[in-house]
Subunit: 135 residues, 2 copies
DNA sequence: GTAAGAGTTAAAGTTGACTTCATGTCAAGA
DNA sequence: TCTTGACATGAAGTCAACTTTAACTCTTAC
């Protein structure tokens, strides 16, 4: 398969496929007169990469998942190892977003300020009571 | 106050304060022999900017909040107007992150694949049943 | 034989919110 | 007076995950 065909089947731009290759996610395929000649299983590999991206992994993390463990490491072990940290990250994202939403809703409901300058002073005086988002 | 003092009081780098000025969040202050000379209320304004950032607004949105409405628009109206869209965005973020987490947990629990290549094929065959994250 | 279309590369551009750098000015303290 | 430190500016660098561009090669169809 040419890189164009792989792109159509996987829904990716050829440039993205080349990029994944350079990033170490895909092995360099055979070349036929200079051009990449893929076997069809690369489409599965790309689907896996997409799935990993969908659950939040970065490209370096996906490279780790694919090629960063001792060779006899099972896939389930690889997933579990990486999933632990990522689930933590996701919990943080969720918590932070919920805190932001709460803060925003209470602001939209309770703010009686006439000018934004009033808000600035209001925040300064009530600042200590505000829930913190830091972390 | 010099920009350094403002930075120390607001917890921001002077470069960030200059950046906010250029981005249209802060009005250009008076100059004393070329240097920015601030009145203390800029610290409140910066606290407000930080708060807006904390609840998820981008700098262009904050500029809108501060200077993008007719002058007699109340602060509460400004907040409500901008909060509506942002809350929607946050709901999407939360939903997406929760979906990612669910997918990741089920992967970590249920994956029995020996190699990651098996995962790739497994995803290809069961792909239609997978919950979509698109959107 | 030639033109269109797809492939190749390396390098630069994109977005957001800044920081860092290079270079220059200025002011206060010893 | 001289040094040190803070300030000024504009340009370039940062991160992620690609895309776009420029310049070139190669295949295929006519």
């Amino acid at each position: 398969m040419t890189i164009g065909e792989v792109g159509r089947q996987s829904g990716l731009a050829p440039s993205a496929i080349r990029f994944y290759e350079k990033a170490g996610l895909l092995r360099t395929p055979f070349r036929k007169s200079g051009r990449r000649a893929y076997t069809p299983d690369v489409v599965h590999q790309l689907a896996l990469i997409r799935f990993a991206k969908d659950v939040g992994f970065t490209l370096p993390q996906i490279r780790l998942l694919l090629h960063g463990f001792p060779q006899n490491t099972t896939a389930s072990t690889r997933w579990r190892t990486l999933a632990r940290g990522k689930i933590k990250e996701l919990d943080e994202v969720i918590g932070k977003a919920q805190a932001m939403k709460t803060l925003l809703e209470s602001m939209a409901i309770k703010c009686q300020c006439r000018t934004v300058e009033d808000c600035a002073k209001c925040l300064a005086t009530s600042g200590k009571a505000k829930p913190s988002l830091a972390g």
